[in-house]
């Protein structure tokens, strides 16, 4: 085997494990036979067409959607309140109300609430932690401003800070780069790489930016109802999956917008 960043992934703890997961909405299969393992210290990228089931897959990992069939494990246990304490989550669409009376700092501090536990109030230390996180996304100057007056991209950066602030072991990010300018995106991916290398956190990330994904994710998979792994054969370490997907004489695939496996049923080529 070639020596890469994922040299011995099997020796690292598995944070996310999906075993033959199937999900249906209204009698239609949205996810079929998903097999996925995400290890500590890796950035796992998921790309795929609109409606391919990416958000649904993240919801399955988070325990928000129960699969019709198959097994889901988060930190070696079924997803639930306990395992969630170690997750940082960034939804694709924020459902928060723009006129809600909170400041930027309040929003970031919310990321700390669950770990603080019942009966404990955020104190000066929580404030400092939140401020530090805000400066990592270069939003510290806005700390006391109402969240609702920020631009879309600024709000996204604050939401990213909220996802990171509790120092989670696993980050689940649904299109984190939406609305974020290219400088901030580059910053953000660097930050993710740093967290991965220094703290061994793992990231499951959905994005439409295939270029960004191939350069920043350790592994990229494409989801269109079924999950297809891409990249060097070495980086796909679940041999029987590859067989299922590509057949016995599997070829090295380079992921781009012409990827036949992923986009053959769809018109849109990102």
């Amino acid at each position: 085997m070639k020596t890469t960043a994922q040299e011995t992934p099997s020796k690292r703890p598995v944070y996310v494990e999906l075993d033959d997961v199937w999900v249906a909405y209204d009698g239609k299969w949205i996810l079929k036979s998903i097999i996925l393992q995400c290890y500590a210290g890796e950035i796992f990228g998921i790309v795929g067409p609109n409606g391919g089931g990416k958000t649904t897959l993240l919801n399955v990992i988070l325990g928000l959607v129960r699969p019709a069939k198959g097994r889901v494990k988060l930190f070696d246990q079924p997803p639930g309140t306990n395992s969630r304490l170690d997750i940082g989550y960034l939804p694709q669409i924020s459902r928060a109300d723009r006129s809600f009376p909170v400041t930027v700092l309040d929003v970031v501090m919310m990321g700390l609430y669950s770990k603080l536990g019942f009966f404990n109030r955020p104190d000066r230390q929580s404030k400092e932690i939140a401020m530090n996180q805000l400066s990592q996304v270069h939003m510290e100057d806005y700390a006391t401003r109402p969240f609702g007056i920020l631009s879309g991209g600024q709000q996204q950066r604050v939401n990213i800070a909220r996802a990171l602030v509790s120092k989670p072991k696993l980050l689940i990010l649904d299109e984190p780069s939406t609305g974020v300018d290219s400088v901030a995106q580059e910053d953000f991916y660097e930050l993710l790489a740093k967290l991965r290398d220094e703290q061994g956190i793992s990231v499951v990330m959905v994005s439409h930016d295939i270029g960004m994904m191939t350069s920043h994710a350790d592994r990229v998979a494409c989801l269109n109802t079924q999950l297809h792994y891409h990249g060097e054969p070495d980086s796909c370490f679940i041999p029987d999956v590859q067989e299922k997907v590509y057949g016995k004489d599997m070829k090295v695939m380079v992921h781009d917008s012409k990827c036949v496996t992923c986009f053959h049923r769809h018109e849109d080529h990102d």
Partner: protein, 267 residues
């Protein structure tokens, strides 16, 4: 002392009014942020079924009203969560069911020893020392529970999906808040009235939201609005000989329109 405070019932009414202002203002902060005002209306009306049952059985209408309101609030919350029916629909059903039961109970009871009209529209003469104790105890309970779970309630109100994923017991918190809402409604019904109390579950918070974008000051402004409305409303209703609940709600609405106009002009 001013003439108005010579009467014990007026003293009681003012004390009750001040305590309720605090409770309703804090509850309305969350009602407005979570867009629960229609649930407030539904829960308040469901208390009527409870009052009528109390009258029929000859037990404290407050007790039975608590039972009805808490049950209906949680049933609405439960059905809304199942996702098949909208919360809106669930409210529409329970609200009328509880009222219908109320009418049936009244029909069944022989004597009318309970002032149903007073419960519906508020009766300032009706506040006894016992009521004051009930308001003080339950009001403190409501405020203390909100204080204890404030950060959790705030997070869930702001972004329930992220709150859930971060490990918050969202379902528990929802039912917890609905129960608190029901208690706040029941302790207010004697003075403000079942039909009118839902206004005070919305107006203080709504008026405060016009003025400020910070939650701490929003709660403070809501309390001030509620206090001015109740105290002012009681004074006006006494001197102008108007119905207390209706006067309080009219004054509160007037304050809302002023804050609304002020916020429009400021834009």
């Amino acid at each position: 002392m001013i003439e108005i405070f010579r009467f014990e019932f007026m003293q009681n009414a003012f004390m009750a009014g001040m305590m309720l202002s605090l409770v309703l203002a804090v509850v309305s902060f969350f009602v407005v942020l979570r867009r629960l005002s229609f649930i407030g209306v539904g829960v308040a009306h469901s208390a009527f079924g409870g009052v009528a049952l109390g009258a029929l059985l000859g037990i404290s209408p407050t007790l039975t009203a608590i039972g009805f309101a808490v049950a209906v609030a949680n049933a609405i919350g439960y059905i809304g969560k199942q996702g098949k029916l909208s919360t809106d629909t669930a409210i529409g059903i329970f609200f009328s069911l509880a009222m219908a039961l109320g009418v049936i109970f009244i029909g069944m009871s022989e004597q009318y020893n309970v002032d149903l009209f007073g419960y519906l529209f508020g009766n300032i003469l009706a506040i006894t020392r016992t009521d004051l104790v009930i308001i003080a105890v339950l009001g403190t309970l409501v405020l203390a529970s909100i204080f204890i779970f404030f950060k959790e309630l705030l997070f869930v109100a702001y972004d329930r999906e992220v709150a859930l994923v971060s490990g918050m017991p969202v379902t528990f918190l929802d039912h917890f808040f609905l129960t608190i809402l029901a208690l706040a409604v029941v302790i207010s019904m004697k003075i403000i009235g079942i039909v009118l109390v839902s206004a005070l579950l919305v107006i203080p918070g709504a008026a405060a939201a016009q003025i400020t974008r910070r939650y701490v000051s929003m709660i403070a402004v809501a309390v001030v609005v509620a206090l001015i409305s109740t105290i002012g409303g009681l004074f006006i209703s006494y001197y102008a000989d108007l119905a207390s609940g209706a006067t309080i709600v009219t004054l509160a609405s007037a304050i809302f329109f002023i804050t609304f106009a002020a916020s429009q002009i400021r834009k």
